[in-house]
């Protein structure tokens, strides 16, 4: 019971912190919302980057694709999109509360599914690449996605799109987006916890450790990679849609496809917290975001230098990340130890196999 309680405690803590945060510090609701999006970034990047060893630098593309799909759906349900974007706000458009929430709901789902379909098609092309080639290939996809969107007049080109305005008080609005991002990230977190414990987690790690061996053992490697990326894309797509609506105005380079900021942050947060672990991305994202916000306030002018220094230090001196370091330091806490319980019995029956003896002991104890 005691160990069970101890194991549940971190999960309960995460939930409670998430629920309590906007009530304890209502002024920081927007910051907390961004923090949950950051945690989501790190968690989704880790599915391929940490668990499977496929370092993608282009995951941010799914974020932007989701953002644009949602915007087009939200507007397209009630207006002509081309006309809306061409007018740059000159035409007065109103969305009723009903229209807003319906549009957003449909938009969020479409964003998730659209990004997922995009990831499956993209995966079919880029999963032939390995190592650094995969990283560069995906980076190219993200960069060109931003440029292509910027040249596409239907979605407003480089001028972007102003999204429908939330029908209600500003405080309600920030709480509304907080609840959505928090819920989305928590769902992702527990979904990942569940799939990492089963066959998916082991197959992903097998691909990371030796993909050729995994193929030789008959594992459906392509299927695992595709599904892993599709999960990441689905959640990134929805988070992009949420983020766009929270900002209220989207454009291709800085908001939708910010490859050199968010696109790299998600990698760095994972590395800092410990890639290939469930809690690493959560811890890494929280620390990174806090560090970033603190330097933005107290080290203004030097904030990018400080952030760069953090990245260099963590990549050069601390590759295994926080959770990885703890695991290395105290392996027995994670069950990495020789199991000598079977030998500990006084006067053991040497003809009996150790596993049999252990099972007999366990049964006797119950």
């Amino acid at each position: 019971m005691n160990t069970r309680l101890r194991r549940t405690l971190p999960y309960a803590g995460l939930l409670i912190a998430g629920i309590a945060a906007p009530f304890l510090f209502p002024d920081y609701t927007f910051q907390f919302t961004v923090l949950w999006v950051m945690i989501l970034f790190a968690l989704t990047w880790d599915i391929l980057g940490g668990q499977m060893g496929y370092n993608s630098l282009g995951n941010i593309a799914f974020f932007g694709v989701g953002m644009y799909i949602c915007a087009v759906v939200q507007i397209g349900l009630y207006y002509d999109v081309a006309q809306y974007t061409a007018s740059y706000g000159a035409v007065k458009v109103e969305f009723t509360a009903d229209q807003y929430f319906t549009g957003l709901a449909v938009g969020l789902i479409a964003a998730g599914l659209g990004a997922m379909v995009f990831s499956i098609i993209l995966g079919w092309v880029v999963f032939g690449l390995r190592g650094p080639y995969f990283a560069i290939g995906t980076l190219g996809v993200a960069l060109s996605a931003g440029e292509l969107t910027g040249a596409w007049d239907y979605v407003g080109g480089g001028g972007g799109i102003a999204l429908p305005i939330y029908p209600g008080e500003p405080d309600d609005r920030s709480l509304f987006f907080y609840v959505l991002s928090f819920t989305l990230t928590i769902i992702l977190f527990f979904l990942l916890r569940w799939i990492y414990l089963g066959r998916f987690g082991l197959a992903a790690n097998a691909i990371r450790d030796d993909e050729e061996k995994a193929e030789g053992m008959g594992i459906h490697t392509m299927r695992y990679k595709t599904v892993g990326w599709a999960i990441a894309a689905f959640f990134l797509g929805i988070s992009g849609a949420l983020f766009g609506n929270m900002i209220g105005f989207i454009e291709p380079l800085e908001v939708a496809f910010p490859t050199v900021t968010f696109g790299l942050f998600m990698v760095v947060m994972c590395l800092l917290g410990g890639r290939g672990t469930l809690w690493g991305p959560v811890i890494g994202a929280t620390l990174f975001h806090t560090f970033k916000e603190v330097t933005w306030i107290y080290l203004l002018g030097w904030q990018w230098v400080a952030l760069g220094a953090l990245i260099v230090v963590s990549v050069v001196f601390f590759q295994q990340g926080i959770v990885g370091w703890v695991k290395e330091k105290w392996p027995e806490k994670f069950g990495i130890a020789v199991d000598d319980r079977a030998l500990a019995e006084t006067d053991p029956d040497l003809d009996e196999a150790p596993s049999q003896r252990l099972r007999r002991q366990t049964e006797a104890a119950q």
């Binding site: 569940w194 799939i195 414990l197 089963g198 066959r199 998916f200 082991l202 197959a203 790690n205 097998a206 990371r208 450790d209 030796d210 050729e212 061996k213 995994a214 193929e215 030789g216 053992m217 008959g218 594992i219 459906h220 490697t221 299927r223 695992y224 599904v227 290939g276 392996p331 069950g335 990495i336 130890a337 020789v338 199991d339 000598d340 079977a342 030998l343 196999a353 150790p354 596993s355």
Partner: protein, 253 residues
């Protein structure tokens, strides 16, 4: 006695080097077949051709009467034809039990099964097999930290976990200490007699392969040199020439 693997005129060249030159051989069901030959004689190339690591230039490879030379590695593995590697390959950052669990057969895997947990009997089977190779106490250690010999045993156990029909072993005793070799030979024989797995073994250790195999093929310079039961191979002058060095006999004559 039916043939599990039939190779018919298999050839494979890498640039100008002909690694396999029209090799024809048969691996009978439920037996242990040996493959010997000097270094660079094309043994591992033949293994790679059989399990589909590279396409062959000519000839045909049949598994249980079915042509497999045009299938990919994963498809062949799922048919129940598996190999282990000369340079041991395991999932080095996972513990032994995890290595075993992910090695379950993937023959009929559905999308739902991807997200399922392992039932207790699979875990139990994994532990039993780890015990079979003597790694039970170390099952929670990270496999990459085990000694080379233990990694080799783990790889063998992983192959058994996959429930193959035929297992190709590339130098199973290389790098293993003499005491452990006896244990391993015993386990290889038991894998055939108790689990019904057909074995095809590359081996340089002559006492081991002579005691183990029912039937031995000898390769030299990419060609099939000799074939027969161990006693015949041991006394075959061509094998002695190719393997022990013909000049030795020429000098002493």
């Amino acid at each position: 006695m039916t043939a599990m693997i039939e190779c018919e005129g298999v050839s494979k060249a890498f640039g100008g080097v002909i690694a396999n030159n029209e090799i024809t051989l048969e691996v009978p069901e439920g037996r242990i077949t040996g493959l010997i030959g000097p270094n660079g004689s094309g043994k591992t190339t033949l293994f790679n051709s059989i399990v589909g690591y590279h396409p062959i230039d000519a000839g045909s490879i049949k598994f249980q009467g079915r042509e497999i030379s045009d299938l990919r590695v994963q498809q062949i593995a799922r048919l129940g034809l598996l190999r282990t590697f000369q340079q041991t390959r395991i999932y080095s950052k996972m513990n032994c039990v995890e290595n075993m669990l992910i090695s379950v057969p993937h023959r009929t895997q559905t999308y739902r099964a991807m997200f399922s947990k392992y039932p207790p009997d699979v875990t139990e089977r994994a532990e039993d097999l780890l015990e079979f190779v003597g790694l039970y106490e170390k099952r929670f250690l990270i496999s990459g930290n085990l000694s080379f010999g233990q990694q080799k045993l783990l790889e063998f156990a992983m192959a058994l976990m996959n429930e193959p029909k035929v297992l190709l072993l590339d130098e199973p005793t290389a790098g293993i200490n003499p005491t452990l070799i006896n244990g391993l030979i015993d386990r290889l024989k038991r894998a055939t007699s108790e689990l019904g797995i057909t074995l095809f073994v590359i081996e340089h250790n002559m006492p081991v392969i002579m005691g183990l195999a029912d039937n031995i093929y000898c390769l030299a310079n990419g060609r099939l040199l000799a074939h027969g039961p161990p006693e015949k191979i041991q006394n075959d002058q061509r094998v002695i020439n190719a393997y022990l060095g013909a000049h030795y006999y020429l000098d002493s004559d």
